[in-house]
Amino acid sequence: MKKYLHIYKSELMSNLQYMLNIVFRLVNFLLLIFIFMNLWDYIYDNPNELINGYSKNQMIWYVIITEIIWGATDGRRYCRKISEDVKGGNIAYMMNKPYSYIGYSIASHLGETTIKTLISVIVGFAMGLFFLKDFPVLTLPAIVIVIISSILAVLINSLLVTFIGLISFIIEDSNPIFWLYSKMILVLGVLFPIEYFPGIFAQIMKYSPIYVTCYGPAKLFVDFSYSTTVEILLSQIIYLCIAWLMCHALYMKGVRKLNVTGG
């Protein structure tokens, strides 16, 4: 574990050199929040009106949290990197190193995105407070639980993206699969809580990655309760283990078949 923390720290430090890049990447995040503020502002005739159990402010906070968590993985770049490592043969140089490729990739990628995520948190919360002039009521233990749940969400999402990237062992380009995964999470998880979908569909979504990567932490943030906490954290731990096992199995299967040409 120590070596992965070291990889994470060194990547984090090297990224501090590229603050301007990070600031520019934040513009996208700001634009999306701005668009959704306008959209929900238009949809809610009265800010206190409840739609599917959510007020306008809760909906906007929900989107701010899910966008921060989704942005923290920066899945598109990460998936492309894993896919390129497999396709380009770079993975062959990492196989014989004294660390797990999956652990290395996740630690190094999260090290890259941490600063951006922290700035997103500050900017997202500032935007929320400025435009909504409201903040969900949360006790200190609740805040700690939301943070833990958010970290778990980012880890699960990173593992699932790693798994998709590793599919390049089987098909040459796994990026199209990532597009579908990302749109599933984005449309069904980032933009709307599960309650917005009809009965059976909502039930299925409770067992999907949407529940553990987006809905869980955002729901705890806008409408905290200890009963949902247990359910969400338990689901996240189960998903984390399954995702890790899936990645490990695919990686082991892939490297056995790996053929690298050239030097």
Partner: protein, 264 residues
């Protein structure tokens, strides 16, 4: 002059053709790229079904009009990324001295540089646009107008990408500004302009020319308006001429990096 245009057109068509042939060598990858892009775009229909289950009208747009908005945005993006893919990495081409190989060719530097590669997944965006157009109601007039505005829109967003990329002639590495500007266009293009108020709406219809690329085309395809159609066409020509002027002004400041690259 006319012969030069014809030659340039032939070279561009051949570049695209060979790019496409190269991409089609791996058939599985090619089909996946195109079909998954269609599915990727289609997933957003769910978003709008949910939103329209809450309200009949969003920003003055009916569900059908939002579909049309998505169709136009997708095919505009598709045409631009398929034909002019390299306009989105122009900043990198300029700062890394990769323009050298285009400067020595007896062809238009800008067009040769931005059409030197294709993005195969963008074919999925183009197809998606036409599929959604068919769903929202296909007539010959709508088809022709849709094609016209997909092309004018693609030219305008390519112009914006070239203008942003050309900043590198003056400011060096400016790819972040270009990327941000380009994603700004894409993000706003798929939401009805009516949900934005005040300054944001004015900016979207003027400085950020989304009116030309998506909003006006949707209005025109819904209810034909000759004046607005002419505004779109004339504005596209003016923006394109302006883009060429800026690029060639910047090109005078370009200096080679002695980078050796092979173009196969």
């Amino acid at each position: 002059m006319l012969q030069a245009v014809k030659n340039q057109f032939n070279v561009t068509v051949k570049t695209i053709k060979y790019g496409l042939m190269r991409e089609m060598i791996n058939k599985t990858s090619f089909i996946m790229n195109v079909s998954f892009m269609i599915l990727n775009n289609a997933s957003f229909i769910i978003q709008w079904i949910v939103i329209y289950s809450l309200k009949d009208n969003v920003g003055g747009y009916s569900f059908n009009q939002v579909l049309l908005l998505w169709a136009i945005a997708a095919s505009t993006y598709g045409f631009s990324h398929f034909i002019f893919k390299k306009s989105y990495s122009l900043s990198d081409i300029i700062t890394n001295g990769k323009l050298d190989s285009f400067l020595v060719q007896p062809k238009n530097v800008l067009i040769s540089a931005i059409t030197s590669d294709i993005e195969v997944s963008a074919l999925g965006d183009i197809l998606y646009g036409y599929i959604v157009l068919a769903i929202s109601g296909l007539t010959l007039t709508r088809f022709l107008l849709f094609t016209l505005f997909s092309i004018t829109g693609a030219i305008v967003i390519t112009d914006i990408a070239v203008l942003l990329g050309s900043l590198s002639f003056w400011f060096g590495k400016s790819d972040m500004i270009a990327d941000t500007g380009n994603s700004l266009m894409t993000n706003f293009a798929t939401y009805p302009d009516g949900i934005f108020k005040g300054l944001a709406r004015i900016l979207l219809l003027t400085i950020i020319p989304l009116g030309l690329t998506t909003y006006f085309p949707v209005w025109i395809i819904t209810t034909f308006n000759l004046k607005l159609t002419l505004i779109v066409i004339i504005s596209t020509i003016i923006i394109t001429l302006f883009t060429f002027i800026i690029f060639y002004k910047g090109l005078r400041r370009y200096s080679s990096t002695n980078l050796m690259i092979s173009k196969i």
